[in-house]
């Protein structure tokens, strides 16, 4: 990566993380970070967010046909119990 490309990328990231949209957890309301959200060709580019989030359509108390909102939420920390393992695990290379 050239020096110029790298410098521009650092600048955009710094801007996104300082003046970008505030991203909050849709369930808890906790502030996750800031990022630029850019609609582009039917998709939304998330630029500069320094967290791992899932996009979710938000529940709405009032029924509206003209607007729905997309938000973000964090996974809960992994806390899975043990699972019963088969005596002979399947061959991972088998198809």
């Amino acid at each position: 990566m050239s020096f110029l490309t790298s410098a521009v990328r650092r600048l955009v990231l710094a801007l996104a993380r300082s003046v970008g949209s505030k991203i909050v957890d849709a369930e808890t309301g906790a502030v996750i970070g800031r990022a630029f959200l850019v609609p582009w060709r039917g998709r939304i580019a998330v630029i500069g967010l320094d967290a791992e989030v899932k996009p979710v359509f938000l529940p709405q108390k009032r029924l509206t046909y003209w607007k729905q909102e997309l938000g973000f939420k964090l996974h809960t920390p992994p806390d899975f119990p043990h699972a019963v393992r088969p005596q002979h695990p399947p061959d991972p290379s088998a198809r």
């Binding site: 791992e52 996974h75 992994p78 043990h82 699972a83 393992r85 198809r95």
Partner: protein, 244 residues
């Protein structure tokens, strides 16, 4: 009686490796240290530490680790082969730049593993499926990725994907041996494959909790050693310039 093998992965020259082993000997028994070497064969031959394995695996020797999906599979397989016939009950895996800071490190890890009723401990353990995690998204684009987990999982949701920093993981012997015995049918990154595999094989994997703040991906924390120890750190990562 639990017995922990400390696997240290390094590629550094012989003198730096011996300085690292001297440091580690302050905290764990020398005969509990297995050196996994990813450097040159010449340097490997010059290292006067008996318990060592040379890892001849191109998937370890990547340049752009993330995009080439660096793997520690060769390290795990070599270590598991070395352990055969030896009675270690647990495995602590650390990279060369991950410093131990307390004399009862392995005992603390065993106690935490027992408290969590877990088989594996990892740093920065998180669930990343369906998120913007760049590593997850790159793997999700691979048509073989999800079918692999569907084939091997013993859990109800085969789409769960976990991630953790590669260094500092702590394993029961059974979980480690199964990790080493499961080949990657296609390249998967070292931060994705081990924790996700452990989960889908039915093992319980947990984060180190408060210790996670003393481990991060980037930088050189050589100036933070004493402060970290005072703040309660068991280990510190990354400390890249400690061995020269």
């Amino acid at each position: 009686m639990p017995s922990v093998l400390n696997i240290l992965l390094t590629h550094q020259p012989a003198d730096a490796v011996m300085a690292m082993i001297e440091w580690w000997q302050k905290w764990v028994a020398r005969d509990s240290i297995l050196l996994a070497y990813g450097g040159s064969r010449e340097d490997f031959a010059a290292i006067p530490h008996e318990a060592r394995v040379f890892v001849d695996d191109a998937r370890l020797r990547t340049r752009d680790h993330q995009r080439e999906r660096q793997s520690y599979g060769g390290v795990f397989r070599a270590a598991a082969a070395w352990m055969q016939g030896r009675d270690f009950t647990h495995v602590h895996f650390a990279e060369y730049d991950h410093l131990p800071l307390v004399s009862d490190l392995n005992q603390r890890q065993l106690a935490l593993l027992a408290d969590e009723r877990a088989d594996v401990l990892g740093f920065h353990l998180r669930r990343v499926d369906d998120t913007n995690c760049a590593h997850y998204l790159q793997h999700a684009a691979d048509p073989d990725f999800f079918p692999f987990w569907e084939r091997i999982t013993c859990r109800p949701d085969p789409r769960v994907v976990l991630s953790m920093i590669a260094t500092g993981s702590f394993w029961t012997r059974e979980a480690f041996d199964q990790l080493a015995a499961t080949p990657e049918p296609h390249p998967m990154y070292v931060e994705i494959f081990p924790p996700t595999l452990a989960h889908h094989l039915g093992f319980r994997i947990r984060d180190y909790g408060p210790q996670t703040r003393f481990v991060r991906n980037f930088g050189d924390r050589v100036s933070e050693i004493e402060n970290a120890r005072s703040a309660g750190a068991w280990t510190l990562h990354p400390v890249k310039s400690r061995w020269g």
